[in-house]
Amino acid sequence: MSFKTLRNLIVVACGITGTGYLRMPVEQQLTGELRERKAIPPPIPLETWGQMGQTSLAGVLGGLRSVMASTLSLAAQKSFEEKEWYDLKKQYEIITALDPYNSFYWDHGGWHLAYNAASWARTNDELSPIRRQFLEREFLEAGDAFYHKGLTLLPKNANLWSEVGRLWSNPHKRPDLARAAEAYKMAAKYGNSFYKRSYLYILARIPGREIEALDIAAQMLIENRRHLSTPTFRCLLFCLSTNPDLPENALKVKLGEVFVDKEQAYKDLYNYRPRVQNEGYYGGELDKVLKSLIEELKVPDHLNPFVPGSKPRIYDHNWRREVDQPKILRPKTFPGLPGQE
């Protein structure tokens, strides 16, 4: 190496390190500010580095973290189609490490585990019943853990909270309504009226929390009267206010204050009744009110929920025709069977 080259190298090295010394505190300060505002994602965990493939690694090394996350999320579809659940979980761990402030990936990763993987485990005939139960439980909890991991980074994300609530209130999973209510409470705190309604509906399904549910419904009504345009909200508000254990100062609404007229009240309450029977929604004096309306409106048998064989649901557009031209309900007969006409 000639003297000139050596001299040049020394000068260049000194120049670069000298300016490096000046700029380093500025860069560190800016990095700190951006990290505090969550503009810079946390460092990728060591174990995630080991799990990354060559392509993702190259992308990340080139500074394409969020682009790699987008493309990997599309590639993860293949693992879903092939039901490779552990691979899928690993892929979503990488995706969320690459783009941790994107709630969509937490949402999807949790959904794949808690819904798709858990359903696959529950319905897989190749597994023994015990193994099926064990796996389903494992995937449900893995999905819940995935959602919660996302929530540690995005604690104000109403959609993620509501996903946790949806998971633990799903009748096809292993419902835990108290757990669901806690999640929906957080979703309602940070989200719009949709999440508030969801919170109310869950509370109305937990025995012993009916008074709390009515308080929430009253508060929602004060905030926005448009909630009354939702049939379930109308029915719930009315039924909750028929609770005999309500304190003196609690909101007590009358039929006419919630429903447009008695016909509308009957239709809504008729459709609400299966939710009380099947999903555990609060009923209060629903049956008593329905019976009095049946007499008052002269409702035919096939629209009377207390008569076996009545319709499962009343539709607005059919109501008038069905009341004016009532069908006579007869027990079903099977010609040819002994003892039948």
């Binding site: 670069i16 860069e27 719009n192 345009s229």
Partner: protein, 310 residues
């Protein structure tokens, strides 16, 4: 009496003339042809949807826009960074090969003017390319955001949401449309390309091979993306558990001092794709850092190039 034939130390006019000839030189190399597939990609992304979602009640409409922005900004960053290194690495050897360099340097043109002109020419080409890609991004994103916003409005109205909530939902979608924030991301990528071009210029002044310049440029691009990890280790040792040893600290300090920090540029571009707030102050600091990098690398390139013999 002053000598009318004396050459000034630095002349912006000379720099601009050399820069414009560099632009012509690069345009003749058909460098803008890459914009055709990029345009196709940006337009094609318009028709590309997320493959799956749970249902309308849980849909995250802005995710479609985020993915669009991520892929477009990523493409812009990749091509500008790549071309910043390759163009700069090619430009001086190409002048030597076709003997243009001798014609220029035998005239009273200071070498600083020559280098600054070359760098400005490359940056101008990158700027034009970035501008075209940015325009494509803005147009495609505008149409996509309008479609997503209209869909969301219809859905929320059908679900009995109040007008305020519909407006709030649509405002959230609009935040992910073509905004000033998005332009901050584009600017951050351009800043990164400027630094990479200046780095490649410095390497090409003492390198004897184009391949070496390109390879070194790429290595610096990669190390620069992780430089902040080394710096964090020095400043925030406790945050990552065990304090680093002496050797790690020396290595970390050297990496932090020598290599540029590209994570800041990438973080601002990513935050703009997420529609996360970026302050004007952040952009000014980033602009200042870019100027510092480009300035120091250009001055050092001039120092090496000043007594180079051809």
């Amino acid at each position: 009496m002053s000598n009318p034939y004396k050459t000034s130390f630095f002349s912006p006019r000379r720099v601009i003339i050399i820069a414009s000839s560099t632009v012509t030189q690069l345009v003749r190399m058909k460098v803008f042809y890459f914009l055709a597939p990029v345009a196709l990609l940006f337009v094609g992304l318009q028709f590309f949807d997320n493959l799956f979602y749970q249902g309308p009640e849980t849909m995250v409409p802005e995710q479609q826009l985020r993915m669009h922005k991520n892929l477009c900004l990523g493409t812009m960053m990749f091509f500008t960074s790549l071309f910043a290194i390759v163009f700069t690495a090619l430009i001086i050897p190409s002048d030597i090969e076709d003997r243009t360099l001798y014609t220029i340097l035998c005239k009273p043109v200071p070498r600083l003017d020559y280098l600054a002109g070359k760098l400005l020419g490359v940056l101008s080409v990158l700027f034009i390319a970035m501008l075209v890609m940015d325009l494509l991004l803005v147009i495609t994103l505008h149409y996509r955001a309008a479609t997503v916003s209209a869909d969301l409005g219809r859905y929320l109205t059908a679900m009995n949401f109040s007008e305020i909530e519909v407006a709030r939902g649509q405002a959230e979608v609009a935040r992910h449309g073509p905004t000033l924030l998005l332009q901050y991301g584009v600017l951050a990528h351009f800043g990164k390309a400027c630094v990479l071009a200046a780095v490649a210029l410095l390497i090409s002044t003492f390198s004897t091979s184009t391949l070496f310049t390109i390879a070194s440029g790429f290595m610096i691009w990669i190390i620069g993306s992780f430089q902040s990890v080394a710096r964090d280790g020095i400043f925030n040792a406790a945050e990552y558990g065990e304090a680093p040893g002496l050797a790690d600290r020396i290595l970390g300090t050297l990496i932090s001092l020598i290599f540029p920090d590209f994570q800041l540029f990438e973080a601002i571009a990513d935050a703009s794709a997420r529609a996360q707030e970026i302050l004007l102050d952040d952009m000014l600091k980033l602009g200042g850092l870019t100027l510092l990098y480009v300035g120091i690398y250009t001055v050092l390139s001039w120092f090496v190039f000043s007594d180079k013999e051809f």
